[in-house]
Symmetry: C2
Subunit: 102 residues, 2 copies
């Protein structure tokens, strides 16, 4: 059963094109993360906030990623992290055109 993972944390940037350049290698690494279906990278410079929304194939993959990414963000000096996991209602999500498979 797929799991939606929501990450949010304080960030002073980089955002936009600068982030795309700074995190290109990280994104390539995340793209082959075990169990990842997709990730959307989120930014809100006005409130100095960034994050991501992920779809994982199963709860185990999501839980392993939360641990890994929390440690990685701590390495960037980011510790005030909100991480929330939700079950996905796949039938309703398919009706509203969400992509639920890799």
């Amino acid at each position: 059963m797929s799991i939606l993972l929501y990450f949010e944390f304080p960030s002073e940037g980089p955002f936009g094109q600068e982030a795309a350049a700074a995190y290109a290698a990280l994104a390539a690494d995340i793209s082959v993360e075990d169990g990842l279906i997709w990730k959307v990278w989120t930014e809100h410079p006005e409130t100095s906030t960034a994050g991501g929304v992920y779809l994982f194939e199963d709860a185990g993959s999501a839980a392993r990623y939360v641990e890994k990414h929390t440690e990685r963000l701590a390495g960037f000096g980011i510790t005030d992290i909100v991480a929330k996991e939700f079950t996905v209602n796949e039938e309703l999500s398919a009706t509203t055109r969400a992509v639920l498979r890799r």
Copy 2:
């Protein structure tokens, strides 16, 4: 520029298959919402929470939907709503296989 919209609110259900049946018509209606690219329907019965993660084509469509959906949820008696909007980093999101177009 696409916008990710995050909704979260208290819910005692229905969840899962019961929600899929109860909200089938609502999902069909949302699927043709102006500017909507996709919606993932989220549930967390353990904490009596539900919500959704949406990708919209632009900020105007997202803002109109926030107003419309907030009123709709109020009609269901749901008023304690968290709604957050983020800019999407499309380049990084494309690398991590997010679907950014309808």
